[in-house]
Amino acid sequence: MRPIIIAALLSAVTAGMALDGADPASPLRHLFFVPVVVAALAFGLRGAAVAGAGAVLLYAPIVLPDVERHGLTFATAEALLTTVLLLVVGAIVGAQRTQTRRQSERLSVLLAVHDVLTRDDPIEMLLRRLRALLIARLPIRDAALVLEPGDFATPDGEGAHPGSLAAEVARGGGPVFLADTGEQSQPRRVAVVPLTAASGRSGALVVEADELSAADRADLVTLGAYVGLALENARLAARQRRAAEELDARVAEATHHLTELDRARSTFVAIASHELRTPLTALLGFGELLATRRFSDAEVKRLAGIIHRETARLVRLVDDLLDLSRLERGTAPTLRRAVVSPARALSGVADLFRSVGPRLVIETSDGLADVDADPDAIDRILKNLITNALKYSPPTARVRVQAVPAAPAHVRFTVEDRGPGIPASALPHVFEPYYRAPDAVGAARGTGLGLAVVKALVEAHGGEISVTSEVGWGTRVSFTVPATAGAYTQTPCRATTRSPTAWPSPS
């Protein structure tokens, strides 16, 4: 529409001058400036040149006859000056308009590049979008971004030949301008500019266009520097995003763990309160009975036995609570080391569980080395493990306790039962404080502290503890304790079984 208006204005001014007697000095000639300036403002330098040339061509048949007739007079000179001014004014206004438009477009493109490269997308997608943006917004035929000097990969997968102009610039060369590739019927310009970043060269921007003026090339160099920086920022942002995501995952995991710990702790407090209350109630009740009534000697003895058992239970619970306190403070249990015979330790424990009869199978080896350990701690570990094994096994199922040599210079104790077993998902947590396997809750009483305390005691000795289990077949807990220095015998050990019952093996 605008070209038609400009042409109409030129025609109107010419017609007006023709009607005015075709006088070159007519004031109407100044109206030629209107379409020329309008064209300059609308289309820049090119529009001004076309409109200016049109105005001069239309004005020339009016001026030239006067020049031919009168020669160079003041009037003809003034008319000729008008033609020159039409071109000069058009050129100045058009050049300013072109420059302003170019600056505006340059800023607009930079803003669009910024928008693309700050999106929260993978870097390959950003590069594809950037290429599409450059092709759409710049007066070019094609564009490519060559990255990573190692393989010169382009986002669209085309790749660059290692000896190509693009690879040469990406490796560290300066901007290159090629006036023509010689492949097309019309010239095809190529500009390759480096993508420079604060950390060094990051690739090259390749552009093919029909025309690339010196100003276009300078703009491309600026764009390359900007894209280089923006790419580096995008990479850093992506790295930060990944780090933040990892951190979030870790925090979530830790929060979950803490929540579970808190829940377990609450459960523990409830259980511990109940466990404390039960023996205390028994002690209070039986103590009151003894104080207020008269009993036979046998009855007193029976009541005293009950009071003793409940007191021992209370002591165990208090010991567990103390150990819990130590575990939470991160301090290792205090050990009073001595030379301990594994066979004697097992024998002592077996006496404690005399009441279970043949359910408990104890196996030791002759010539087994003594261990360097706290006898009370060993006793407590074994009692805890055996109690657990008995507690979670069916009433008739057997529990095997074994002590064998273990390399290097250790003795391995194993407690094995034929209980329901522990699910694989619960195995990694059985040594955590307060943890109780979901199936165990309700099946038997417990605070969830026993195995945590056992682990702490074994590790305080410098040993290791492990658990293997198979649901429906049973559980095996093994721990090692270091043997006393030089006490380990080289003679093969011979197994001694205190219970004649054979131990069934899984088939």
């Binding site: 660059a160 102009l165 093919e208």
Partner: protein, 264 residues
Amino acid sequence: MWALRHPAAAARLPFHHGWLESRAVAAACLAALVTSSVGLVPAEVAAVIGVATLHGGLLAAALVWGGIPVREAVPVIALLALARTAVALHPVGAVLYLAVPLWLVVLAANGRLSRLGLAPPWRWGGVVIGTLAGIALALHLIACASRTLGYGVRVDAATVLPALAYDVGANVLSAELFFRGALFQHLWRRWTFGVALALAAGAAALRYVLDPFVATIELRVGAAVYMGLLAILNGTLLRWSGSLLPGIAAATMFFACYRLLASG
């Protein structure tokens, strides 16, 4: 993309391989032209040599520049000499000028003039626009010439038609193929469109200003202005259409209208 596939060294390869040979042909023709114009030979012979060396030289140089072997390009000089000789004998001999465009059509149809911008497919829309643009420029010339110099319009077939055959077969084709097809495109592959157009238009205008048959100062000024404008117009048409054909149409129409001018 070129810069991704080709080694950096390929960027230094020349595009026009016939650059040296075309300059040799042009130099030889220029020498013959100068020789003929200093009065060493009779006027009629000088005219034959002038047409053959000026237009034939430009045409042959353009063809060699565009990749046609010298042995195939140079005969056009003889062909134009023959046509000019035939015109000297009888005006109908001007028909021989039309052998040149026919020969060029054969070359173009075989795709051998693609480097000069003459190759199928032909865009007839561009030809129409070129024709209209050439008529518009010629009408301006007629208006200016009639108002300024008092020229009128005549329709004399016996004079106009041989001149038109000369324009079609020698004048227009040699100018378009050399100044636009070869020189302008060569310059355009090295500099921007504006610079290349200015240089090629300047060269084309200069060729007419220096033409010994353009005798008066008014004609020289007119030739400089209108040949410059025609060169700018045809260069723009070449860029827009990718073909030399619209420019040839514009120039043909311009010269056809020009031939209608008669002094007095």
